[in-house]
């Protein structure tokens, strides 16, 4: 399980908070640890869909915190409680992590 996620539909807006599980090692951190900058690995892209529709899309760098927490909102008119929210991250090495929840 790569992401913890919670979503609440309130007054026509869906509020989402998520915490991705990832070490987010920077190039500098990798160099210090193993001497090889290429050992750096961090999330480079995060996207979320609700009922298949894209509701969040962010390209990221090594400068998000370790186990990054992020919050976003999207218009709730087209969705209802119980709809499925799916979040996926992809990291520099091509690995992916996902999390899902139902809108509450």
């Amino acid at each position: 399980m790569g992401i913890k996620v919670k979503a609440k539909l309130k007054k026509g807006v869906v509020n989402v908070k998520a915490m991705a599980k990832h070490a987010m090692t920077t190039y500098n951190q990798a160099e210090k640890k193993t001497g090889n900058r290429e050992d750096a690995n961090f999330i480079t892209h995060i996207s979320a869909t609700c009922n298949g529709e894209t509701v969040f899309d962010m390209s990221t760098s090594q400068f998000l915190s370790k186990n990054p927490i992020f919050k976003f909102k999207f218009k709730g008119d087209a969705f209802k409680k119980g709809d499925k929210l799916l979040i996926t991250w992809t990291d520099r090495k091509g690995k992916t992590g996902t999390g899902k929840t139902k809108l509450k």
């Binding site: 913890k4 919670k6 609440k8 989402v16 908070k17 915490m19 186990n67 927490i69």
Partner: protein, 166 residues
């Protein structure tokens, strides 16, 4: 009346003297905490440190925080500027050496122990009780320990799970 005053003063002086030259037995305090279904919270500080004084005044003496600490923790402060001996895991060292040994020679620092005398959480540095975010965070740290959540998750996860604001 004067007799009472003299006796009280003498008692206070005696107490003061015994307090000044004492051992701080963390092993014993951990056991005491376990018996009382509490956790041990050790607060490291030193003389001449404004951050320590402010944290004591504005965070530790904050009504809400203070009440929670006395209810759920055995609290022990250690002033590393004093020559007190600290007994930890059977070994006796001077307070300052103890702090250096566990790797936290920075003040103030809050240490939390479990029933096996293991340090399960450390909060390094000044938490300013005058700032709402600091007060809330400190309170959250206390809850994190008291609820035994540290046994199942790290503090980041705990904050995420308990953050009411969605």
């Amino acid at each position: 009346m004067i007799k009472k005053l003299v006796i009280n003063t003498l008692l206070l002086l005696t107490l003061q003297l015994t307090l000044q030259a004492r051992d701080i037995n963390i092993d014993f305090l951990v056991q005491k905490a376990q018996k009382e279904h509490k956790h041990l919270f050790v607060w490291l500080h030193k003389d001449g440190c404004g951050y320590c004084e402010n944290m004591r005044e504005f965070t530790l003496q904050n009504d809400v925080v203070k009440a929670y600490i006395s209810k759920h923790f055995i609290y022990q402060h250690i002033n590393v500027s004093k020559g007190d001996d600290v007994i930890y895991k059977g070994l006796t060292t001077k307070a300052k050496k103890f702090a250096q040994k566990i790797g936290y020679d920075f003040y103030p620092t809050s240490l939390f122990f479990d029933e096996d005398a293991e340090i399960v959480y450390v909060s390094v540095g000044f938490m300013d009780g005058r700032k709402l975010s600091h007060e809330e965070k400190f309170y959250k740290i206390l809850h994190f320990i008291d609820s035994d959540s540290y046994k199942k998750m790290d503090f980041d996860e705990y904050q995420f799970e308990t953050d009411e604001e969605l």
